[in-house]
């Protein structure tokens, strides 16, 4: 492993999030979390749907579980893990974590943890419609 940038990697560009319904995912992440659509392209074999936080380069690929890369049994296992809350999550930052929290509660989003002061700042947790965990934090000034 090197740390001298000899691999020429410059950024985290796209990260995949497993979703069970792309329209519902798009509505959740754009309506409630303020993401913008980057790409929404019907490739025939898949819908390439990416979103991101305005002003920030990294995109999320809202990737439908299933498709030819998984056999039916594997796809079912992944869906099982998503709905049990067993897969990874997203970590977002807010410049007003309490306002973000209030808006999400008003919108009826599932809360996993109310805002709590932590050594590194204040954070809370929510679930997306499928069971993916999303954390929102505001670092200490």
């Amino acid at each position: 492993m090197t740390n001298d940038n000899s691999n020429h990697i410059t950024s985290l560009h796209i990260r995949s999030v497993p979703v069970l319904d792309q329209d519902e995912a798009l509505d959740f992440y754009t309506s409630h979390l303020g993401f913008e659509v980057r790409d929404d392209i019907d490739l025939g074999f898949m819908r390439w749907l990416t979103i991101g936080v305005p002003g920030q380069d990294t995109s999320l690929l809202l990737e439908l579980v299933g498709g030819p890369q998984h056999d039916e049994a594997t796809a079912a296992q992944v869906r099982e893990l998503v709905t049990k809350g067993a897969l990874g999550g997203l970590f977002l930052q807010s410049d007003d974590v309490h306002a973000t929290y209030a808006a999400l509660v008003d919108a009826g989003v599932e809360v996993t943890q109310e805002p709590v002061e932590q050594p590194y700042g204040t954070d809370f947790g929510i679930r997306d419609p499928f069971g993916n965990h999303v954390r929102v934090s505001q670092p200490n000034a």
Partner: protein
């Protein structure tokens, strides 16, 4: 979104488990959890164990002990206060349960562990004592004096 019956059960049980995570310091309220999961109280415990591999009571105990471990590591609050904070009604039950689950007393744990600064959900997920480690929690043998 079309879910299979099992995925729908998973999703409802996840909502109930999240409620336990939020209210870990409160007594285990099986009727409320069952309502969240759209099940009867008698069904809830069985289905929870089918989905998550342990009883709701056991999950809550691990959650409380994990939270106590965090507070012991991150704060200098008295052990008695931490016991109360995480939902134990007596220091004795807390100390017995903690020692049985973690393998050392709360005070010993505190002296051995420094504060860590990573998102709390990772601390919660990765420091939660595993089921059965190191052996069955005292709290399952001796009812927690906090209302169940």
């Amino acid at each position: 979104m079309a879910l299979t019956p099992q995925e729908d059960v998973n999703r409802r049980m996840l909502r109930a488990r999240d409620e336990m995570d939020r209210r870990y310091a409160e007594p285990l309220d099986l009727p409320t959890l069952a309502r969240i999961a759209h099940l009867s109280a008698s069904q809830f415990g069985r289905v929870f164990k089918e989905v998550y591999g342990e009883t709701p009571h056991r999950y809550l105990q691990r959650r409380r002990v994990e939270r106590a471990m965090t507070l012991l590591r991150q704060t200098d609050r008295p052990v008695t206060d931490i016991a109360w904070d995480v939902g134990f009604a007596s220091l004795g039950t807390f100390s017995r349960t903690f020692s049985t689950v973690v393998g050392c007393s709360p005070s010993e744990f505190r002296t051995r562990h420094e504060p860590v600064h990573v998102p709390s959900c990772f601390i919660a997920a990765w420091t939660r004592p595993r089921e059965g480690a190191p052996r069955t929690a005292v709290s399952e043998k001796r009812p927690d004096p906090s209302p169940a």
